[in-house]
Amino acid sequence: MRYIVGVDIGGTFTDCVAIRTSVDGLLPMVKIGKSSSTPPDFQTGFIAALRTAAEVHGVGLDEMLADAQVYHGCTVGTNALVEHKTARVGLLATRGHTDTVFIMKAGNRLKYLPANYIAHVAKQTKPEPLVPKSLCEGIDERVAFDGAVFAPLNEDTARASIRRLVDQGVEAIAISLLWSSVNDAHEKRLRELVLEIAPHLFVSISSEVSPRVGEYERTIATIVNALIGPPMRLYLEALEIDLRTNGYTKSLQIMSCTGGLIDADYAREVPVLTVGSGPVAGLIGAASLAKAAEVGGGRNVITADVGGTTLDIGTVYDGTPVRRPTASYGQYEYFVPTLDVRSVGAGGGSIVRTEGSVLKVGPHSAGARPGPVCFGRGGTEPTVTDAAVVLGFFDPTYFFGGKITLDTAAAEAALARVGATLGLDGKQTAAAALQIIDSQMADAIWLTLTQQGHDPREFSLYGFGGGGGLHGAAIARELGARSVVVPMSNLAAGWSAFGISASEALVTEQTAMSLSSPFDPDEINRRWPVLEARVAEKLVKQGVPADAVEFHRFAEMRYQLQINQVAVPAEGGVYDAAAVERLVATFETEYERLYGKGSGFAGVGFGLTSLQVHGTAKLSGLRVGDLVQQGADAASDAAKKPRDVIWYGRDGASETTSVYDGVRLGVGFKTPGPAIIEFPDTTVVVPHGCTAGIDPTGSVVIDLHAAA
């Protein structure tokens, strides 16, 4: 395979990374193609980005695609949800439990919302239902927690329910019955009935989408899957036709929020796996870099992906990204095996304002439209980006590599208007805003790590996205982190696409259990082969040779009277009593590591709640860390004209600061702070008292503790 091609579709741009591999003895070569995104027909922008990448490699698109593997980060599902352009979905749920999706576990729906919303009860509300009440049908059937059938499936009333939905023109049906995670017979039979009546419908069943205990989150996952099933089907079919027309013959691999690639057929069946895969790609890239090269000095990494509206926080512990079992869509929480990426409302577009005599930044954002004041697109409320340009961190003529010219004066005037009530001028307000947002970002990360049971001092911080380089060092200092890495700064725009290309194939299968200790080894032994066969089948379909599949087993357990569930690695082979004991011991050790010494109560035994198998296989074999910086030595003209920068926390006066053209810096370059390193798509800020250098992967690494 000569080309590894990663494509990441964002709201504004479609980014493509095309790596010519070293198959023919040449050095690997990385090229970036970019095109505007083209909603709703995203495949058009996709092909356009591929074409520009092929051009910079000096080949035709047909030629490149004929010998390429294409990896795709797909936001079509996410966009459909955000823009409410989803399918008309009907829900079949156990009779008496269709209201679960309206009740939303009461106050639990507010769990991830900002504090000021939680505190203001007069403003609270519930979101529009995902499925209108008229399209929710109760099904006569009931399975109990032990899998026993309390009431058999009543096929007559079920058929009538299905017909009512079909008559109302549903395009997809979500089926979620109580305890289907333990006994899926009724769900499967219901699906047969639906397809008998309406063979064309997209049908999504909860025991396949997300077989976990907890009907609310499982049902929402199934509904979300059904909502985006039809649009996803349309998109992928159109894209595959376009790719085939342009000479592509292999299967298309799609990024999933699980942290690996799945094939397009599987993505069509379980499109909910693609929701939220965007931020996951950056985290995968960071994990790849940390694992392969220990860039930043270790395998523990916090990722801070600073975009226009949000900061996405991820964690890599010992080279492995931290996972979680749920994701959120507004106030809706649903089960999906995902990497743990949390968004907080802090980014370049965060609005600077006053509330009484207090200066506040965010969580509201000016977004892309109207955007910051300095963009000159009609924005009147100053943002973090305005503050950064006023302080001198951004070159107004070299933002996005000069694609946008920033109006510094307008930004300063807007900041001055906000600061006036506090007696601050524009520059002082800018410094204050930056200090506040850096502190908020650090607090959010600290809270995330505390929740995960980690100590930030054992981590490096990887900052990426448009603002990762601006805020990274300040956040890391605040946290006491070891170092800051702005990964592959010169290719920053392609960072997500790199992550996608570096991902492995990953398929996860799980089965809900309800075992009490001592666990019956036979019960466990019966499950593994079934799960592994299902995983292998999917991966083989994905194009992976059967013998290349690696299985990783996990058992999710808890102390019987406590609610924290922990998934721990489980050994291979056949289980006997001793293996079960070893599993329990692993759980106890991991529980203590996460929740603290003596925090588990073993007195009444253990519960085994699910078994999971992750199947992985190498795809591109690309390791992000192996891509060395092109062009060896620092060019002598890398230093640009120094400029005046105001660094907050000092005396407020501007200081002349060295500025470097990052593109012209070579591996081994080092500079003490204060300094600014500019790349076409990102600006790296190096504060006082630390040293920045370019490492062999082309990443800027800032040592926070050593002045050069």
């Binding site: 009779r95 309206f102 106050g107 000021n116 203001h120 109760g138 009484g356 207090v358 996460l594």
Partner: protein, 764 residues
Amino acid sequence: MASAATQIDWNGRTHSYRPRPDWRDRISPRLRLHTTYDDNLDPVTFEVIRQKLWTINLAHGETITRISGSPLLASLDFNMSILTEDAEVVVNAPYVQFLNAGAPLGIRYILETHAGKPGIDEGDIWCCNDPWIAACHQMDVMFAAPIFVDGQLFGWVANAGHQYDLGGIVPGGWPQNAEDVYSDPVVLTPFKMVERGELRTDMEALYLRQSRMPDLVALDLRAQIAGVVLARDQIVGLAKRYGADTIKAAMRRMLDQAQESFRQTLLKVPDGTWTEIRYLDEALPGQRTTQRTQLTITKKGDRIAINNAGTDAQTPGTNGIPFTSFSGSITGIISVSMLYAQLFAYGGCERQIDYDLTPGLLLCCDYPTAVSGGILQTIPMMNAVQSILSRMLATDDTLRPDLVAPCGDFMLPVLIGYDDRGKYFGQAILDSFGCGSGARSFGDGVDSSGPTFSPLSMVLNVEQIEQWFPLLFLYRNEDADGGGPGEYRGGNGMRSAITPYRSQSMTVVTNSGGQCISAQNCGGLFGGLPAPAGHYLVYYRSDLLDKARSGIMPASIYDLTAEHIVPLRAKSNGAPLDAGDVMEIRTGGGGGYGDPLLRDPDRVARDVDLGYTSADAATTIYGVALAPDGVVDIAATDTLRDRLRGERAAWRASGVNDDSPFIAATGAPSQRIHAYIASVDQDGERVLACDRCGHRYCGHGGDYKTAALMDDAPATAIPSNVDPAHFVDEPIVLRRFACPSCHVQVGAEVTKANEAVKAEMVFA
């Protein structure tokens, strides 16, 4: 403050502890307090520190839930706070609001009483569950850690969390049949659980010895300790980094801002007196009596005064609440309705509150009243506060959007028994956390929103509950007509039904607040109706099993037939449930706002279509006629509404003379002070007049209720309400008030029939 109040010895022994104005003078000089602060704190550092204190407090809570792993603490039945050295609450959390009220009281008690001996030292952690000192009831145990910086007491961090069991005559700690505190869970006055950083194993053993479930209580103990340790150490770190005086300046400023924000809100409200009456049923299980509580808040300038006069004296039984819960109800509801911008930093608002209280009444009861089971009576109390604050907010156009009618009351069924594997269980079903919230001045309450006083409290998944207890949830539905009707209706609660599954034995113990089983869940506002009562309705030997076997599942209790149908009482001790028996729990909705006849007919049609309002209520309460296809028949609706409004013309006058003092016209513009009443100049006088037709009710300082037409209807006039006569002997009615001229409904309340008409809002 009344002179009688100053003579009462509020020392935490018989009467609740309340710090006297000179309490600081009694702190032993051995303890050095950090009282200095940096006058020149800049606004940026302030905002940074404020955010950090908020984050530290959240991490405090996370630490508790993580380490404990307890389902109780995971459902957020706890709260945590950061306080100054003299125990003003600087940061509080969005969990159960009244729980933290004990911290400022308990810590001041410790400062006054124990600073000399045994002394308050660095590394200590104090524990207390005495309801007359620091706990809302014994089950919510407080842990408080002093924060020392450079040898001076800089501040405190504290939490209060619900325990599995701490003894007493009923497992779980809600003994409704406790005649006095000696049948309650154990009472522990403040003691050091941790001394200079070392856990006192002697005290730990003594503490755990009180519990039926010592191992789990031990875990929660460690979790609560770990929480305060984390928060304390983080604040010490902040003080080192920014300087103690800087952090203290930020804390003081947060308090000052909360105080100022509260003051500004109060200044927008005209001076006056607001009163709420609430009845509490059966002091002891089986009693067919109801007791009266009265809460009066007088607002003058930028201060409010709280009075409990008119409340019945405490009796044997569990209807009393101590000062901790009483004051917590007030600050808790202020936090979510007047101080939301301050993110629960309610310490500053306490500076503006005076209490003029008589001890020994049900509100503010004395030792040794039973109080553990009475914790549920804090909810009707909070609902009373919510009604009063909402009426205050209604008097100003800028504040009115923040008002919320009360949410559903609390029902706590506890299931006790053994499963078919011989395992004991004893746990509450917390479906009341799916109650509806009250209506607002601009829109309906939120259906199954969760309680206003604890915004994050949740309803657990059915599958999670079925994993733990031998039962099946047959259904859990949004409840039609559960919220009080109104121009904007209250949010509906839920109906859930359970049946034993693989149980050896199962009995139900019921615990309920106020009159939420006999008469109403909560009041409405300004002519909006109260929400109907909930129920625990048992269908004994139903046809469930036969139906299920043939593939028919009930979606409503009315889909079943049974040999006996028994509504359980508000308080009961052990109704057995066997296979085939089904219990439906109907949890509360929120109160309505405004006259139901003014509700947009299309909203009524939509609610009927979605099952949120019954077709019957649409006609009889809302006066909306729907065509067979569900669309509003406009002409028929107009006719029906005219007829219903016309019926109010026959309502009677109160018979109470308007004795409002003459207040001359002020020249000020008309100001709405109620959904349909304005303060306005009329014929040279400042009067309260109908905002719709101009009818003069009374002078500006009068009581519009006594000047209105009134009518006593059966409580069952509230759609789907029960007949109170099933449960209490005293006649209870729905009393409604209307404008004598245009007949818009301006008031509606559930009251004892012999209760005199009582003003709800009178301006000074």
